[in-house]
Symmetry: C2
Subunit: 326 residues, 2 copies
């Protein structure tokens, strides 16, 4: 095998590339991976009666820029996106499938960096990389697709449709960090509050999902759950729509979030609040709770009769990210 540091995918056969990638995913003693990568398909045990499944993808030039994010960060982010969807059903993630489609001119070192990021995020979440696919792509194209599988461990799923008037809307984790980090990168210069800005940039590049956050919310009686992928107003609007309720966001609570985090220092109150409301790719969980909030969750609104999303009673447009919007 040739030296890796300077080589491109096109310098290697599939077998040579797999020999470099698969050891990075090796997990010993996983009882749930009956057949590991290398056969026609993976076989997983221990998923129980109900399997939770989701898939998410990232495309170079659309979902990341190589000058802003490393391969390792792309890998971590894509795993987080998928894990958040499993957690948002109240599930426990168990396994990942990873498909890479790449221009043969892609640097092998970047692909290994990507694999390291996927492996690190998988290890933190205690999930196994069970299989995947490798394909060549046209010049300049790099696409990574991840599928996550999980289990409900016998619990019912927590749907978007379960919110009821009287529930409290709460968040666990940050809001607006990823959107703020992206805005800083797009502005092209990070001046002033460098340390505070660093945490925003880091979250945009590689958000993390707390293992067990969804199952914990389910155990605490959450009536609805979603992760923030397209912006708070837009994603909470999905709960409102599926549940047939209105969700009223609490402006003071959201401003307190701005003030108590790097958002306030770096962006100020107005722009900070804008990112809290519309910033996507955060992957924190937002849920509705009929009873007392479990530890670590912060109230940010109420579920009411009606439709749509309001902020202190004022209707909010469903701003946020839409892949194909005109």
């Amino acid at each position: 095998m040739r030296g890796v540091s300077l080589s491109r995918l096109g310098d290697l056969s599939e077998a040579e590339l797999l020999a470099l990638v698969l050891p990075r995913y090796a997990v010993t003693g996983s009882p749930e991976l009956v057949v590991a990568p290398g056969d026609d398909a993976a076989v997983l045990a221990g998923l129980g009666a109900d399997v939770v499944a989701t898939t998410d993808t990232m495309v170079r030039g659309i979902d990341w820029r190589d000058d802003w994010s490393s391969g390792e960060q792309v890998g971590r982010k894509l795993v987080a996106q998928n894990l958040a969807d499993i957690e948002a059903m109240g599930g426990r993630p168990v396994a990942l499938l990873v498909a890479l489609l790449a221009d043969p001119q892609t640097e092998v070192a970047w692909v290994l960096d990507l694999a390291d990021g996927i492996a690190a995020a998988a290890l933190e979440a205690r999930v196994v990389v069970a299989g995947g696919d490798l394909s060549s792509a046209p010049p300049g194209v790099v696409v990574v697709a991840v599928t996550a599988l999980g289990t409900l461990d016998g619990r019912p799923p927590v749907l978007r449709s379960g919110a009821r008037p009287g529930d409290v809307l709460a968040v666990r984790g940050s809001l607006g960090f990823s959107g703020a980090g992206l805005a800083l990168l797009q502005a092209g210069e990070i001046t002033g509050q460098a340390t505070a800005a660093a945490s925003l940039l880091a979250w945009h590049r590689a958000p993390r999902v707390e293992p067990g956050v969804g199952a914990g919310a389910a155990a605490a009686g959450a009536s609805a759950l979603i992760d923030i992928s397209d912006g708070l107003v837009r994603d909470v609007g999905r709960i409102a729509s599926a549940s047939g309720v209105r969700i009223d966001l609490d402006g003071n609570a959201l401003l307190e979030i701005v003030a108590s985090t790097p958002l306030g220092v770096v962006l100020g109150e107005d722009e900070g609040l804008r990112q809290v409301l519309a910033g996507g790719e955060e992957h924190s969980l937002v849920g509705c709770f009929p009873g007392p909030l479990p530890p670590g969750w912060t109230s940010i609104g109420r579920v009411l009769d009606g439709t749509g999303v309001t902020l202190d009673g004022a209707p909010q447009p469903l701003a946020g990210w839409d892949h194909f919007a005109p």
Copy 2:
């Protein structure tokens, strides 16, 4: 919503596109889909103790050409590739996840044609489309990624590593049709035996996987199974390598396959045999059997002591498709 026939993805919002696509996947009365597309993730019941999972992708310009294949054919082919991997474990496919990444200039009509092909292949295989992902992609780029999930229904998986000296190597279904169809398209003109050629072209564009073929082979005692995705010699070589055996192909049996199918009429004996040995994307199952062959399987070789793949005793290079080979 605007007229579909002339519109591009960029003319629609995600919600509008999903409203067009999801009804095509609607399946009534599927006991295995507890939570259908529309929430954070799908929930599937009835997968049993062991879940089989695989993923495969297709890229426009690499895996298909729009002037050679319709969206419907691309959808059928990608589903077949994934189902074949589940069958080749002895599994029963249950569900698909479908991710589409596409240039916003992609015609909506093509995307709906793709969905129709996926839905038709899923219906034939009695699997549900459980979820997916939509993303925009750079100009010219269209990628489709499918993940298939299945169950072993309590049986052990049939691995590539189970072949033993004395087993008979057998195939169920065609060999070389897809490679021959591709060669005809690449040659640029289809003359003479148009009807015979049509079946080769059709198989290249949209191969099919017989539901239950893998489970049937498992029940008949298959010691190893694989589907032909990269060519007979290359894929059988994977069984030989994983099992630590030599597999000797029977030249007369393979020539009989050429003579008794459109391969002989359209390509002649030499080129027909070449496609049988090296043609990929066929997705027929090849297996090793220690006992009598089950109905519908044709003997094409023997498992012996040694290593590698031979044809009537002569070593064969592992020709076939390699995504990144120099």
